[in-house]
Symmetry: C2
Subunit: 398 residues, 2 copies
């Protein structure tokens, strides 16, 4: 199969975006194009643009934003589509970009993920997010993502002996990492005792969905991220020869039951496991080849569960590795060096692209202040619904 | 490049759907799978599902519907994404299905387009549709699709001498064709004098956007359509050897300025021309190879304009061909044998898939009552925004 890789990355500051959705995705797109040295107008070489967003329609009342972006970027008549797969929209769009180039139809594809979700807050934000649950079996009954995550956490705690303090440790780690990421939403350290000591915790990190507290889950963020994909055999000809080729060695997705209640064992994340297995197989790699990982820690329990489903740790042992500091920068397998969804923020459609941007920065050796020494290969897991649709991506310079 | 073709088609009755959105897309999907003989559960061979919809989020408050569909169809862990490109979402999804197979990542892809838009009506429907206009430069100012179509019609009338009666002729033709299509929304003939005679017309076909009247534009419909794509080299092995392979010889899209006001000549539909040229080039074909065409007649003037931009007629002469009956079934180049968007209906995300379903029925010789004799090759044009993003598809059994 044709080799496909990334030669440009862009990433807005996550947090509150004061402009329009179109301006948001344009900023990330232009950064990625500038990074790669991509030109516009008659010199444009981008064949296809994918915009990933879950809420452009529901929250921002926009359809066809990919076409508007092409026009704004002055790269007409490039092809353009919008991709939606809940919070995994971003990685899905990269997967489709990969296919577009591997097929030979395109040589160069721009993928932009963006979400402007802080136009809603409180129950409206919770309700918006809940639209990714089953449209007839879950959402209409008022089920929410935190409620599933709380149940999932409780079941895992009972099964594997994880504790709330383990989650707090991950929180501390991801907040630490985020202080070195200028694009992170929350660039502030937290102290373990402040979010786990029973004397303070009800005030500092109130209960949301028992046993999950506020600091066990991600904030609501606006933001956008972009990657420019190119075929290896066209990199030089299209003018990107000077850039590191961060090869997409493996990219795959998988679905699990949409009804969470239908799962034989609700503590298993089958779609994560299957997507990761497929990505490893495509890459001809295994967990032992991964130098750093960006995992979808919308709820911190997911960082633990995903790291196990991806084979980075044996089942039920990830929290022990966390206690030993193995997932910190400098540890055996650093996880969420970007700050993760927890501290970097989680603009839904942007997240999958943002994760891959972080991997590219790591394998390029450009992750200033949070660089994993000698990182050559990274894994990203982008998690849709409550695990009903998951995308795994492996980026490498090997 | 790997050959990709269609071995199964499905199509719900367009009109008012009383069930849920998920039931709607499921019905079309199952029809396409049954048509091809595709199995489920352990015997599933579908690698990827694409669901095309413009309003699943905005109108039905659903995200990730493709994952829900995979679960409902019992074809887990098939990959799944939703595709949005305004009213061209359907053909966009087929394009991505083509790429998925041509890349070698997938061998079999199910594409379903669906829209349940009759949950809104009147100004709410107009406003929903208008979200496909420029998100900052057009939509916020209250511009609507009929207003652009009215302007476009007026300019063309002045330039080429087309008349309201020419549009009425197309209306009569498409309504005639729809009476032979059991899936059409409106299966009723109209008489030319009823919708063009000044004595009746204000009552029978009231003015909407001068010179466009009600019978010059499509109704608001619910509906879904589906196609099952497979690689030629896997057709036999996957169990579809008994079905006609309706090959996708060419499929391509193109964008034009999103701001209609930015177009040098607003009577030109550059994206249609470019998409068609690209599709012809990919197919190694030209307009002379086309036996029948499904054109995007959301407004009847578009059927004329698109037929010219695709090279079926010289510029400014399509209405003369209509007057001579050349676009009727039995004519030189029958257009919209399905009834077109005008009479078959236009559930936005379904339309592009529905057009290709009609081409497959024609090239298979299964278009009962409306069959174009000896049809081997068909062209579809699916039009997004006011021509800002257009997909052209060529299906053939040659």
């Amino acid at each position: 199969m044709r080799q496909v890789g990334i030669v440009g990355v862009g990433h807005t500051k996550f947090g509150k975006w004061e402009g329009t959705f179109l301006e948001l995705i344009t900023q990330a797109a232009l950064q990625a194009m500038d990074d790669a040295g991509a030109k516009t107008g008659k010199d444009n070489v981008i064949d296809q643009v994918f915009v990933a967003s879950m809420g452009a329609g529901m929250l921002n009342r926009i359809s066809g934003s990919a076409s508007a972006l092409v026009d704004t970027l002055n790269i007409r008549p490039a092809m353009a589509e919008c991709i939606e797969n809940g919070p995994a929209s971003g990685a899905s769009a990269i997967k489709l970009g990969y296919m577009a180039i591997a097929s030979g139809v395109c040589d160069c594809v721009l993928v932009v993920g963006g979400e402007q979700m802080r136009v809603v807050s409180g129950w409206e934000a919770t309700d918006f997010v809940a639209t990714m649950l089953h449209p007839t079996g879950e959402y209409p009954y008022g089920l929410t993502l935190p409620s599933f995550a709380g149940m999932f956490t409780r079941l895992r705690f009972e099964k594997y002996g994880e504790t709330s303090e383990d989650l707090a440790r991950i929180s501390v780690k991801n907040h630490d990492n985020a202080t070195h990421n200028p694009c992170a939403h929350i660039q502030r350290k937290v102290k373990l005792e402040r979010i786990s000591d029973p004397r303070y915790v009800d005030a500092t990190s109130p209960m949301v969905a028992d046993p999950l507290r506020q600091f066990d889950m991600c904030p609501v963020s606006d933001g956008a991220a972009a990657v420019l994909l190119v075929a290896k055999d066209k990199q030089e000809e299209l003018g990107f020869g000077h850039k590191t080729f961060a090869r997409i060695a493996g990219i795959a997705s998988a679905t699990d039951t949409h009804y969470v209640a239908d799962r034989a064992d609700p503590t298993e994340l089958l779609a994560v496991r299957t997507a990761a297995e497929r990505a490893y197989q495509m890459a001809g790699m295994g967990p032992e080849d991964i130098d750093c990982a960006e995992l979808h820690d919308a709820f911190l329990i997911l960082e633990l569960a995903e790291s196990e489903e991806c084979g980075l740790f044996p089942k039920g042992e990830a929290h022990l590795a966390v206690r030993r500091g193995e997932t910190e920068i400098g540890g055996r397998i650093p996880i969420n060096t970007s700050g993760g969804l927890k501290a970097k923020g989680h603009p839904l459609g942007a997240t999958g692209v943002s994760q891959v941007v972080e991997l590219v920065r790591q394998v390029r050796g450009e992750a200033e202040g949070r660089q994993v020494e000698g990182a050559r290969t990274g894994l990203a897991v982008n998690f849709g619904g409550f695990g009903n649709n998951v995308v795994a991506t492996i980026v490498t310079t090997k």
